[in-house]
């Protein structure tokens, strides 16, 4: 076993130690101090763990902002180039369905926030599950409405590609509008589906009495994700459905 402080290259003398507590760098058996069962071993304490987890989810949401951002940037460029064409294309979207979905998602954000709160105050598991379940129900409703809308688009030849047919004055911008419509709402719906998957896991964990005032990190960060998906729709709705001022009822 080589002396850890020996010279390997002659003349290269070891620098003085950096650490104040030399036991940190001595080989030693790990001592297991009493800690919360959910504390991961590389964190010092629960406070560090929840701070790191929350920061991690926020950084991830920033990546999601930039991910959707590319589509919004394309929307900006094409709407700037074709203001009338986009307005004309937007008229065929059903504002009622869009508004209903917006309300549905806002309610789901409320129930999600209350789900997090119920864990924070150590509410009984069935209360937590109730709020989580309500959130999921509303999310599923959103997807149901989108399915109805998409079916309508298919029926009216508004899906870009070889079957696209546009009767109005601006067919080319309309096809670009609907390309963006499907990409943006499709990507959003995919995130919704993933959100439902996440909430299923959270719901199961809540059923198993995992969450209380001492530990509710997964609910909190699932909530952050859910609210983000809501915020994307808050912008998608007016940008896609409400251009030009006229709309079909």
């Amino acid at each position: 076993m080589p002396d850890p402080h020996a010279e390997h290259f002659p003349g290269r003398i070891h620098q003085p130690p950096l650490v104040a507590n030399l036991e940190a760098i001595q080989p030693h058996d790990q001592i297991e101090l009493p800690h919360h069962p959910k504390l991961q071993h590389h964190f010092d304490d629960m406070a560090q763990q929840i701070e790191a987890s929350t920061l991690g989810m926020w950084v991830f949401l920033v990546t999601e902002i930039m991910f959707f951002g590319g589509l919004f940037a394309a929307y900006l460029v094409y709407r700037h180039a074709n203001p009338e064409g986009f307005a004309e294309a937007s008229h065929h979207l059903n504002v009622t369905w869009g508004a209903v979905n917006t309300i549905v998602l806002i309610v789901s954000s409320l129930t999600m926030a209350l789900a997090v709160r119920s864990a924070q105050i150590s509410a009984p598991p069935k209360t937590q599950v109730a709020w989580i379940g309500a959130t999921m129900l509303l999310g599923a409703t959103f997807l149901g409405v989108k399915a109805i809308e998409y079916a309508d688009k298919f029926a009216h030849h508004l899906v870009p590609g070889p079957n696209f047919r546009w009767e109005g004055k601006h067919p080319a911008p309309a096809e670009i509008f609907y390309s963006l419509y499907f990409c943006m709402t499709g990507l959003h719906a995919l995130h919704m589906i993933i959100g439902l998957g996440i909430m299923t896991v959270i719901g199961i964990m809540a059923l198993r009495r995992t969450f209380d005032a001492d530990y509710y990190t997964p609910v909190e960060i699932a909530g952050l994700y859910w609210h983000f998906v809501d915020i994307v729709w808050i912008f998608l709705f007016p940008l896609l459905y409400l251009i030009g001022g006229h709309f079909t009822e």
Binding site: P4, E7, I13, A52, P160, S179
Partner: protein
């Protein structure tokens, strides 16, 4: 009785493939990245063989297009972008901040699996017939006309992007939230600062190329019209979205190497870095300003001249923080106690070659000159000076410097010096003639060229052969050291840093308890004060 370290703590494939230890994950990355480097090098070899003669006689033009495309895709996305962060960064950052692991160890492992999955998609694309769009996937060729497996390759890039995002996310949270007591920001090693800046780019930029290549795949598969001119779509929009990431991406490739050089220069001049805070802030400046210059790739493609002027000016500005680093490294070496071990040879190579590469970047940033040399070998030479003369030399220097820590073994120093010289010689012989060829008008991405360029191309191919040998030799002596190399002490180089305080190789948990740090990790003790320390 062998002491327990991260390498022998747990045996068998499962203990490696299901590990949460950042050091083992770094080794997994090291192996896969080396594999992709060899694959990318193979494509380069075919390109250079074809270019030995003016006629397109070795490969058809279609096949040649596939060769340079696959070379670019593999080297950029599967070698250069992950290289230092995923290997050296993963290994060292927790140790350098005094932590037991990164903030999210399982996400770290996931990032490796995502990288491998993306790599499989790309290899499938290559083996099924390849892609010929160039690594830049320009539309409308890629969406409407290209020959080959664009969708598979685009999905491979898309998937691997998430590996990069997760690595960056992990580093940011770790550096913010897991520093040991007493380890303030300005006591951190510059290697950590440069990886923090790199992580900002990974997190902010990669999602944009993710959505862009996804749109290319969607447009090709579903015949959407977003980049299709016949529907009013705009190919220049693709270029904007593509380069919004891909320019900052080049800073992902170079910033970690700069961090490595900062460490090596201090260790082998045995002197504190000159202007620590300037070097630290310059990393952040490069990361941020690097997001403001993407339009310099679109000067001649149809962008407005006004925007071109703005981007040109900002491209000059972004050179300033890089220059600050070069000046500070030089000032560090000045009057230091310099030794010319192999890591330091790579550092010297980096400083010189990066300066040339960076300078030629300024030439390209001047719009008038760019019109003349755009899409010629001048551009090819410029970015290879930075990517190969810079980034890869930084990577190799770092591998050599930290090899004793990672493997617990000492490699053969005479062979290391020899291959460093081979790399330097081979590199310059490969790429300097390309500056000349490009300036004289030889276009890039052509498999046949006018005969007057043959001498330059032969020199370049000869250089590439020497360079290849220079890359193969380290593979041999590193592997040899694993089985028969001398065992390393904690601190074989006499260097400063938390990583040199713990054993080589380190134990799985890095530190027994959190180290308490009382001063900057770069406070080198001057040799005159070293008497009595040993």
């Amino acid at each position: 009785m062998e002491t327990l370290n991260y390498l022998n703590n747990g045996h068998g494939l499962k203990s490696w493939l299901l590990t949460k230890d950042h050091k083992r994950i770094a080794v997994l990355y090291l192996v896969s990245i080396t594999l992709f480097f060899v694959i990318g090098g193979f494509f380069a070899m075919l390109v250079r063989l074809e270019l030995l003669t003016p006629a397109g006689d070795l490969l058809t033009s279609e096949t040649y297009n596939k060769m340079f495309t696959m070379h670019g895709v593999v080297m950029v996305f599967f070698f250069l972008i992950p290289s230092i962060p995923a290997t050296l960064g993963n290994f060292l950052i927790p140790i350098m901040v005094g932590a037991k692991d990164l903030a999210f160890p399982r996400i770290n492992l996931l990032s490796w699996y995502i990288y491998v999955l993306g790599g499989i998609f790309t290899l499938v694309a290559a083996l099924s017939g390849g892609v010929d769009t160039g690594w830049t996937f320009y539309t409308p060729y890629s969406t409407a006309a290209a020959n080959g497996h664009v969708i598979t390759a685009a999905l491979g890039v898309f998937i691997t992007g998430f590996s990069s995002i997760l690595t960056g996310l992990n580093f940011i949270v770790t550096i913010h939230r897991m520093r040991a007591p007493g380890l303030t920001w300005f006591r951190l090693p510059l290697f950590v600062w440069s990886h923090y800046a790199t992580s900002l780019i990974m997190v902010l930029g990669t999602p944009v190329i993710a959505i862009t290549v996804l749109l290319v795949a969607a447009e090709r598969a579903l015949h959407l019209g977003i980049f299709d001119p016949s529907l009013g779509g705009d190919p220049v929009l693709f270029q904007h979205l593509f380069w919004f990431y891909s320019h900052p991406a080049v800073y992902i490739m170079i910033l970690p190497a700069m961090g490595v050089i900062s460490e090596i220069v201090q260790a082998f001049a045995r002197k504190n870095i000159f202007g620590y805070s300037f070097v630290a802030f310059s990393s952040l400046a490069i990361a941020i300003i690097g997001f403001l210059v993407w339009g310099h790739h679109i000067f001649v493609a149809g962008q407005s001249v006004y925007a071109g002027m703005v981007f040109s000016f900002l491209s000059f500005v972004v050179a300033i923080p890089s220059a600050i680093k070069v000046f500070n490294w030089t000032a560090t070496i000045y009057k230091g106690s310099v030794s010319f071990d192999s890591p330091m040879l790579y550092a010297f190579g980096f400083i010189g070659l990066f300066t040339i590469g960076g300078l030629t970047g300024l030439f390209l940033a001047a719009m008038g000159l760019d019109i003349h040399v755009h899409d010629t070998y001048f551009v090819v030479a410029h970015f290879h000076y930075i990517m190969v003369g810079g980034a890869i030399m930084g990577y190799l220097g770092g591998l050599h410097y930290w090899w004793p820590k990672i493997s617990g073994r000492i490699y053969s120093e005479p062979w290391a010096k020899f291959s460093a010289l081979l790399v330097f010689t081979g590199f310059n012989l490969t790429f300097f003639p390309q500056f000349i060829a490009g300036y004289l008008g030889m276009p890039r991405r052509y498999h046949a060229y006018p005969p007057e360029f043959q001498v330059l191309n032969v020199a370049s191919t000869l250089g590439a052969s020497i360079l290849a040998v220079g890359y193969v030799i380290p593979l041999i002596y590193f592997t040899y050291s694993l089985v028969a190399g001398e065992k390393s002490v904690n601190d074989p180089w006499g260097a400063r840093g938390l990583e040199w305080e713990i054993p080589s190789p380190p134990p799985t948990e890095n530190f027994t308890v959190s180290p308490v740090v009382t001063e900057g990790t770069h406070q080198y003790v001057h040799p005159s004060q070293e008497v009595g320390l040993a």
